[in-house]
Structure formats: structure tokens, C-alpha cells
Amino acid sequence: MADVISPQPSRETDRSAERLKRIRDGLSSRHAREKRFRAYGLAAIGAALAFVAILFVMILSKGLPAFTQATMTLDVFFDPAIIKVEPKPVPQQGQSPAEFRRATLDWERQVTMVNWNRVVETAIKNAAPDMEVDTRQALSIVETNERFLLRDRFVADPGLLGKTIPVDMLGSANADNWLKGNIDRSLPDAQQQLSAPARALADKLLEEGKMRFAFASHIFTNVDSRSAPASAGLAGAFVGSLYMMLVVIVLAVPIGVASAVYLEEFAPKNRLTDLIEVNINNLAAVPSIVFGLLGAAVFINYFRLPLSAPLVGGLVLTLMTLPTIIIATRSALRAVPPSLRQAALGLGASRTQTVFHHVLPVTFPGILTATIIGVAQALGETAPLLLIGMNAFVAAVPATPLDQSTALPVQIYLWQGNENRNFFEARTSAAIIVLLGLMITLNAIAIFLRTRLERRS
């Protein structure tokens, strides 16, 4: 500071000394102000991090237990006295494929009519021969769909008849709650979901190691279920979300990038383009539920597309993502120095050549980031999907984007509303963990690609 002030006549020196003093006096308060501001900033970051930490700790502490589930390994005897069915039909000479299919279906129906619950019950009772439980109590600790899984095993391999094999069976949601202590174990019988003998049976199986907490891989491989809540999984919702994201990428990226390139590089600057620009910015701020209403009115009522289909969901989310992609691409294009365009034009390139050969490659990292962030936003969107029927209970993995399906965030909403709170509270958090994991992965890919591409260019 001092060397800035050059030597001056005495009156001047007095004044500059005065100025210097004023600056020195003010210095401490300016430094204090700077420190204060930094402290505010740190406090803000600290608060934000604390909120994120609280959120993560809460979700993880609630959701992680759901990834292990009470599972028992039982010796199942395929008792010929219970399973009385004809041998599985084999293709015969002179039988048309349709006839063979008919015969197979008839046989499968016959197998379905077998009292598989009796098979399950016998297996449970054999596992704990000294416990006195009735049929209902024995079956209340095992998930209700195990009988169908046994049937499916038998359909796949009819040679099992008369054999005994070890089978992993899921414990029922209520047994899982009891063993994990989700329901206060000291509550009286009237407030418990399981009867006292069934609870004792579950405890005994756990003690003897016939029941254990195993990793619940079915959360990823099974579809949603209501009749067998313990076996409910995310596979259907995951595939539904995947289809929607594909539709969004296939539609929103080309349309968005093309509009942005035209508006930024080719469009004449006049009132009309200004109007379009203002509208695009406004669209980005429209609440997502409005797009849902629009989708229901246009795609379902007018174009007669099916309800609850990922295609319609994808179209609605495309509308929602478009402005994001257009705005981000335009700002990436604007960041390209004009000298690049002038050089290309000066060397005789046409405007199209300039844009596609020189400008777009430079903006590629920016466009990619915009796309991935737009897709991540669309992945987490729930509100518009509720209005096009995607909040239905669907117990199948959609084979095509036209099949009925749910989506990951909608599945969270559905599980959150399930009657069996004790079980589904953890399940809901587990689904949130999966969704957050996906989002973080997507964003990490965006950051990785951007840094990599930027370094290359």
C-alpha cells in the first residue's frame, strides 16, 4: 500500500498520511468482515452437509436391515401321496404344437390344484418335530408364494416326485418382523401379528440355525407382490424405469440438441425467436404434474396409447426434460469462442460444416452432462406418472415399453402406502437406497465423462 503513495509536498503528505491511517484503522474491521463471511459460508456448507448426513443415516439405518431377510432351509419331500398328477405330457407323433400346448397347460393346471401348502406344512413340522403347531400357525411363518415356487420346481423337473431336497424358503413378513424385533416383543398376544406358537416356532428355527438372515437378492430379481409381501422386489419397477429412460434419451436428446443448435446458430434474431426462447425458459419452470395432466389428455385420451405404459411415461418425461437439455446445450454453444466459427467460415466452411465439424465437438462434454442430469431428474420424477396410471399394482416385468409397468419412484410411493407398515417401512427405505444409488451412479458417470472429454479436447 505504502509504495503506491508517492512523496508529495507537506500538505499532501499530511493528507495521504491521514488516508493511510484511515485505511489502517479500517483494516481490522475489513478483515473481521471477511472472516465473518467465510464463517457464514462454512456454516452454510456445514448445515447442508449435516442435513444430507441426517438423511443418509436415517435412510440407511432404516433400509439396510431390509436387505437381509429371515430365510429357512427345509428338507422338502415331494410326497407322491399329496402330489397325485399324471406324468408330464411329451410331444407325441401326429400331435400339432397347439394340441401339445393345450395338453401341457392342462397338466400345469392339474399341478397347480395340488395342495402344495400341505407339502410346505409337512416340511416345517419335520424341521421342528417337538413343537405343537396347527396348520395355520405352521404356514404363518413361511411366505405364501412358496407353494407356487415348489410347484414351479416340480413343473420344471417332474422327476422330483418321491425325492427329498433341501429348499430355501423365505420367512413371511410377519415372521421377519418378529425375528428382527420390528414389533415390540414384549407386547401381549392380542397386539402381535403372529400367534404365540408360531412365534415360538420361528424363534426355535432361528436358534437351531434352520432359519437365518440371508441376503435378500430377490429385492432385485422379483416383482412387486401383495399376497406374498416378503418376496416383493423392484425388478418390474426397475425395468419400467429403464424403458422410460430409453424413451427419454432416444427422443429428448436429438430433439433438444437439434432445437438448441438451430436456435443458437441458425435462427435469425427476431421477435419470434425471442418469444420461443422465453417460452422454453418458462417451460423449464413448469411444475412436473402439469406435464402429467398434459400427457393424460394428449397421449392417453387423444392418441389412445395404453394406460400405465412406460412409453407414455417416457413421452411425458421427455416433454419435461426437453427444456433442460435445450437450455444447457444453448449455454454450452454460447461458451464456444466466436473466433472458432470465424476461422472455420474464413477457411470456406459452410455454416452447417462449421457447426457440425467445429462447434458441436467442442460442446460435446456440456451436452453430455446436460443429458445425464436431465435423465437423472426424469428418473426421480413421480408426480406426472401418477396421472397416467403408472401407480398401479403390476406383478410382472414389462416385456415391451407398451406393457403395463411401474417406475422406481412410484414403487417407493406404493410401498410407503402398504398396510403392513412394520415390514414395508424398511422395504421403502431399501427402495430409496437403490434409487439413490442409481442417481449417484448416473451423476458420477456424467462427471467422469466430462472431465475425460474436456481433457482430451
Binding site: 397347460l105 400345469e108 393346471r109 397347480t112 405364501t144 408364494n145 407356487f148 414389533i183 415390540d184 407386547l187 392380542a190 397386539q191 402381535q192 401379528q193 407382490s225 401383495r226 399376497s227 406374498a228 424413451v247 432416444v250 427422443l251 436429438p254 430433439i255 437439434a258 397421449f299 392417453i300 385420451n301 392418441f303 389412445r304 396409447l305 395404453p306 394406460l307 400405465s308 412409453l311 413421452l315 452447417t352 460444416q353 457440425f356 465439424h357 458441436l360 396410471g389 401407480n391 398401479a392 399394482f393 403390476v394 406383478a395 410382472a396 415399453p401 407398451l402 406393457d403 403395463q404 410407503q416 402406502g417 402398504n418 398396510e419 403392513n420 407398515r421 412394520n422
Partner: protein
Amino acid sequence: MNKLFLTASAASIAVALSAGASFAQSRDTIQIAGSSTVLPFASIVAEEFGNAFPDFKTPVVGSGGSSGGLRQFCGGVGENTIDIANSSRRIRPAEVEACNAAGVNKILEVQIGYDGIVFATSANQGDFQLQPVHVFKAIAAQVPVDGELVNNTYKNWNEIDPSLPDQAINVAIPASNHGTREVFEEKVLHAGCEEAGMPELDKEALQKACTSLRQDVVVEIAGDYTETLARLQSNPATVGVFGLSFYDQNRDTLKVASVSGVTPSLETIASGEYPVSRPLYFYVKGEHIGTVPGIEEYVEFFLSDQMAGVGGTLEGAGLIPAPAEETAEVLAEFKEGKAIAVADVQ
């Protein structure tokens, strides 16, 4: 790059449009929507149906409340309208008219059993032995005092009746998009209103006085019962209205109140002792039978003994089975294709 990019975008748009245009092949999955009370039962049947009939796909079950479901149901005939509407109340004449206007003329009614509506508090609260008149006096906007209607000023339950706990009045009831609300009004509010000894009023004023609620203590829940449960957890002194099956699944945190001296259970509701119960329905679009495969089989499977019958799967989930003769009659009428007309539901 240039050509590739343009071709790619043109192709993707073409694919999207043709996908929309080519959706002409018939749907092979039954589509169901409606009441959140019926939803768990319908979902269970749908799943078991998919398991038991390998030749049909598992039906898709959506929610949206009885009114929402029937509105979708009456949207018209065709691929993108639902086949079955679940309802926790009977269809209204206006809805039948709307259906007919949209071309849905064959509305087949299927009654599947009964459901009880229970009042419950958090498990650590006092015991409630309610009468309909208690509920009415607690939540009506105006109550009769000495033959005159005055603004309701009751603050605690024990001011209404000394037998009730000394607890602030807070009630969470289903909003009007739920069929449960209608039953609540009919079986609890109107019954309590009559008992309360209303002064002489004309019909319209009486109706209004019976169903106007005070907003300071009543919370109307538009979502499902989980939302009501969350209310009870945030304010334990709340009395919530639930379906019996929901209470059954959460009996560790909820305590149920008796109504008119009867504690709700499968037995007391099936016998008709417990006053607040209602039949549950679903409505089948006759026009879609034969177009969408499996509708007839689904209905038969739903009404079969192993599902809706005594000791069936749905009883375990909280549905109160209808007597076997009643179910047989319902099934017979469905098979005949007896459509509902406005006159039937008035």
C-alpha cells in the same frame, strides 16, 4: 456426423410415432382401478390368478379411490379404458348415466364381501367405547343444546360423555374421494344425528346440519390409511378411521374402539352385530368380455371359495366373506350378464 445425426433423430421420431400408431393389437392384460380399500384384495386375487392360470397374464390393479376408478371406468369402451372398477360403495345413478353416455351400457355388478370401518387410537391412549352420537357430537359443526342448534364447543371427549377418556377431540376421517366416507356419514354421522335429538328442521337443513363438520378438530385424509396412521403418530390424541384389515395389520401400534358396545372383528362384522360395515363391489365392463381375455375367469376366481369364501385367502387379508348363497347369486347374475341400470341403484 452430420448425416448420422439427422438420420438418427429422424428415425427416433419415426419410431416413436409409429409405436403410437401401431397400437392397435388388442390388450391381453386385465386393467383394474379404483377403491384403495378393495385394492389389497384385488391385488392378491390378481397375483394368485396369474399364478393359478398360466395361460392368462397377471391383471394390473391401480388405485385412485372409488370415485376415481368409476370415472375412469365410465370413460368409454376400448383398449385404453379400464375393464374393472373397484368400489367400496355402490355405483351412483349419475355415474351409471355418465357410463351410458360414454357407450358403456353393460355394467356388471359384483359384490365381493364386507369390510368393517373401525375407530382406532394409538395403542398407548385411553379406551374408547363409542356410540355414533358421541362421534356426531364431537365433530359436527353445530350440535343441539336444549332444542336449539349452537356452535360446537366440546373440547374433550369426556365432556360429551363421562365414560369417554379425558382427551382432546381430534378426528382423522377419510376425505370425500373415498367410498369409506359415504359409509362413515351414513352409518355413524346420520345415526348419531338422529340420536342427538335435532330440533325441527326441513329436510335439506337437517341433511346439512348432520354432515357439516367443524374444521378445527377434523382432518380429512385424501390419501390412504398410511397417512391417517402418520397423523396418529404425530398427534397421539387423534382418533382415526381405518378399514378393519388395516387395523389388523398394525395392531401393535393401534388400539381399536368399540362402537355401540361391539368390538369390531371378522366375526362381529360377518354376523352384522358391528354397525359400521359395508359391502364391497367391483364393476365389470361387459363390452370388454371376450375382447380382453380372462375377465370371466378372474371374476369366477375372485368369488371362488379359496379366495372370497369362508377360510379363503382374502379372509386372511381382512375381507369379511359374504354368505355362500349371496356369493352364488352374485356369480349367477354375472354369468347371465345382468347389467345395472339407473333404476337399480336409486
